[in-house]
Subunit: 225 residues, 2 copies
């Protein structure tokens, strides 16, 4: 006599999934707030409201926690990129992705890992979700970079990989924290500043009126009040 109907198993699975989501949520914010090294598994457990041993039932190590968080943010990035309008110019797609990443960072949802050393790198490359997500995002970005360069909207003299790395680096740019800590600018203003320095650079743009035709795509977005 079967005493465990399928619906009960489903409930159980749902509870499991819900708890894992809660863990991921806590990890995301702790990684964004304190970074990997300063985040402790005790804090994760306390924030979720479970015991530390329970965390280790879901994730085999602290590194896997971080890897899962990165895989999740990459999946979200992938979904965002796929949802962009098809007819949007490639450069605008790239700007949108950077804007999306900055928004995530400003709202404390962007986990930042120490790119430097440790077992973290090993755990990351061993995590299929992370590697697949990174590959998919990089390939999509690479296509848009190539298109934007072919169209002349992105500097064709820059190697595509350098552009790609620069975009990734801007997703964890400490300038955001500096400006936010200064407290003199709203999130929207910070967004404009970072986007401007990323795509337009620090130099003054060439004057738009050497002749009668204004150059498209180079109009500096005016700072909001």
């Amino acid at each position: 006599m079967r005493t465990i109907p399928a619906v009960k198993v489903s409930f159980k699975a749902q509870a499991l999934q819900a708890r894992e989501d809660a863990i991921m949520h806590a990890v995301n914010h702790l990684l964004a707030d304190k970074g990997f090294d300063c985040m402790t598994v005790d804090e994760v457990a306390a924030q979720v409201g479970i015991a530390k041993a329970s965390v280790y039932k879901h994730f085999p190590s602290k590194e896997d926690l971080a890897a899962a968080a990165m895989a999740q943010i990459l999946r979200r990035a992938q979904a965002y990129m796929e949802a962009l309008p098809v007819n949007l110019p490639a450069l605008e797609k790239l700007r949108s992705v950077v804007r999306w990443a900055i928004e995530r960072k400003l709202s404390g949802e962007m986990p930042s890992l120490p790119g430097q050393n440790c077992r973290l790198r090993a755990a990351l490359v061993a995590n299929p979700g992370y590697m697949n997500g990174l590959l998919a995002v990089s390939e999509q970005l690479g296509q848009w970079i190539a298109i934007a360069q072919a169209q002349g909207s992105l500097n064709p003299q820059l190697p595509a990989t350098a552009v790609l790395f620069t975009l990734y680096a801007r997703a964890c740019d400490p300038v955001l924290e500096f400006l936010k800590a200064g407290g003199n600018y709203s999130d929207a203003e910070i967004m404009d500043l970072v986007l401007s320095t990323c795509f337009d650079g620090l130099n003054a743009r060439a004057e738009p009126a050497p002749c009668s035709a204004p150059a498209p795509g180079s109009s500096p977005s005016p700072s909001p009040g």
Copy 2:
């Protein structure tokens, strides 16, 4: 009867100073290599070839080691900036400083600290050498930024603080590690790429003859590679 002539004291002081220099050298490279959290005082002592307790005779804590390293690099930056030709245009002075910082980073002499949390912040602001150096460098950079913006060589629409923070951020840009890890570019090429993306941005520069140029970014040619 005085048995300790002054010259002996001087020798002793020299030996002390030499040992402290050796400690700072090791700390600089370890901070550049592994970062603050992953650097251990045991490693510092081992690399210098002394006992760990001896390190603590020179510096009261691990945080003070990092603060001293930062104070040192700021003093070096200050010296470099003061040695720049007076008649160099302000924008070129700024570019030179960024170039100098990138060189230091590429050669593993630039300590990188986790900007995030911990007692490190407290130790830094409590260190007069660090605070004075940071203030002096920031003031000098701020002057050059203002001049460059007044001259129209630096984008005047950007707040000076945003430019300043961006310059600091580029001094610890992870793009350097990415490009170096890729192994496809020499240090000189990496330098050019980073300087270009910092000051010129990712966008294509305005064409020198924009009057008859076709509008970029408007022809969607989705041809993936």
